[in-house]
Symmetry: C2
Subunit: 169 residues, 2 copies
């Protein structure tokens, strides 16, 4: 009975290959992702046509497995504390074209097809619609950014209706 | 005296504008980044010529200020627990061309010029040199990736000599 419980525990903590040595992690071919103390790995999502960065999110083991197997982006929502099949509400599903992992296997880069859609809950195509001016700052509390996307792709009030805003202060 | 201590504390905890409401954070022009409980914000670094993702790192308030003002990437190294002026050892400095922040201001996208250099301590141009196969996995512990970069840009043993490898198991 004890062995069975331990096996189940091992299954949930190590769905993917256990990390055993640095050479294998960096130079090997076996997927062995590192999840942080909250069980999450960061994910960079880019547009497969332009390589433009669309969003930065997180996955846990289960959402990574779902993403690989269904070829549709499934994140872990930290604000809702639940699996998040991107596009379930908005219709803006992300079809995964390529999925990469970095040298120490603690970050993912996912290239996706969003057609003519958008990825940002505020309504823009990319979440990164504002640019920070570079150079000496006169006052760090008053740094004025510029908008790089001029027009929203959709109206979030219509798409998300009465759902709570995931942005937290 | 108490007031002086509080002022110093405030300075270190809020170098940038304090986050006060969701509308300003999402739709406003003022930089008001969110640092996590460890004082860090994730950073996506891409090649300014191709938009290819080069690396995923972290900054604290101080390294973000240095990056903005010097226009050269300065991260926070979690393994060394210190400021990390990228390229100080290898010579592969990252000149910042554009710096963006996302909708809820808790992630950065930095577009950099690395000339004909590299960004990965293993020797590749990008840290994301391996691709994960998509579709049903037969055995999650034996997922075989493919190398997308065939040749290293430099020999890390020559460049980093006896420095400890930042990759941790």
């Amino acid at each position: 009975m004890q062995i069975a419980i331990l096996s189940i525990f091992h299954y949930f903590t190590h769905m993917f290959k256990k990390r055993e040595n640095v050479f294998e992690i960096e130079e090997g071919k076996i997927l062995s992702p590192k999840f942080d103390k909250d069980g999450l790995i960061p994910v960079i999502t880019t547009d497969c046509k332009t390589n433009e960065v669309l969003m930065h999110g997180f996955m846990n083991e289960e959402s990574l497995k779902i993403t690989i197997e269904t070829k549709e982006a499934c994140y872990w929502s930290r604000s809702r504390k639940s699996l998040w099949h991107k596009g379930k509400t908005s219709g803006f599903v992300q079809k995964v074209i390529d999925l990469r992992i970095d040298d120490d296997q603690d970050a993912l880069w996912m290239s996706v097809d969003i057609g003519n859609g958008a990825s940002c809950h505020v309504g823009y195509k990319s979440c990164f619609y504002r640019s920070v001016p570079l150079g000496k700052m006169e006052n760090t509390e008053k740094v004025q950014m510029s908008f790089k996307e001029k027009k929203k792709k959709f109206d979030p009030k219509k798409v998300y209706k009465n759902q709570p805003n995931p942005t937290k202060i």
